[in-house]
Assembly symmetry: none
Homo-oligomer: 140 residues x 2
DNA sequence: CCGTTTCCCATTGACGCCCATGTGGTCCCA
DNA sequence: TGGGACCACATGGGCGTCAATGGGAAACGG
């Protein structure tokens, strides 16, 4: 069962790499996931990361629509244009590319956040703020 | 499996050439594609690029319509009249012709955007704006 | 014959593979 | 129960390879 939980902040090194938390890596390993589908999230300034089936699931939503419809084009723009496959290096680290930085505002630290069937990369302060906002939103 | 993903911006050199991202090139190579069919996109100010089968697929769409219908005429005008075949040079670079510049507004940088079975060339700022608009459009 | 395109080579910087280090936590045993 | 060996994990850095880019020169076409 794939279920990413909890959050932690790791440091980006001088070469722009960051260690993915071991707990997340072991989940990926047990699901035998090599290629990580990473896309610029639809609602948050965060990168969502999951296995290839995450992309497949999103593509299903495109296929049902007329290929020339604005709806399908809009989805493809985000799902295909806003997504990449990435791999971890041998130590389980991820390159923090411009693709990630420009969208999230990440500079030198990354917050890894479990989201159930996937996890996300956040700029740490933005994550703090979003978490706080979510908590307050529940009270109402 | 042919699946173009992600986006990145490359620079046009003094001779008007631009490097196609290596990830896109490797997909083309694995599909053994030499000639690139390029056409002015139907919905965005961008050039869509794919293998010859992309043209075939569009032509299929024309055939199913009544050959004298305004619909079929319009499609053919765009698919045939607005399309060209291009090739990459030995280093995997593309000549940015006037055909591309005038339709997209591209001047000195090109945004390459994966769209699944094909990819697109955008003027970088226009791409940013379109992506942002697509994201906001999803909320509704 | 001249301007444009393609080929070829050089440079630079980024990325992936490999190995080393530090630190916190756990387990074992006296 | 205190100390020490050990281990897992985050992190640092050397180095080779490849991609992106620049520019000279040949090939091509009008």
């Amino acid at each position: 069962m794939i279920r990413f939980l909890s959050n932690s902040v790791n440091r980006i090194d001088a070469k722009g790499r960051v260690s993915v938390p071991a707990s997340f890596r072991s989940i990926l390993a047990s699901a035998d996931v090599q290629d990580l589908y990473c896309f610029q999230d639809f609602v948050f300034p965060a990168i969502s990361v999951g296995g290839p089936e995450l992309l497949t699931r999103l593509e299903k939503r495109i296929e049902v629509a007329d290929p020339f419809s604005p709806e399908a084009n809009r989805m493809s723009l985000l799902v295909h244009g806003g997504g990449v496959f990435m791999r971890l290096d041998q130590e389980g680290r991820l390159m923090v590319t411009d693709f990630i930085r420009s969208f999230t505002g990440i500079t030198d630290h990354v917050a890894f956040v479990g989201r159930g069937d996937h996890f996300q990369l956040w700029q740490p302060e933005a994550w703090e703020a979003a978490q706080k906002a979510a908590r307050e939103g529940l009270g109402r």
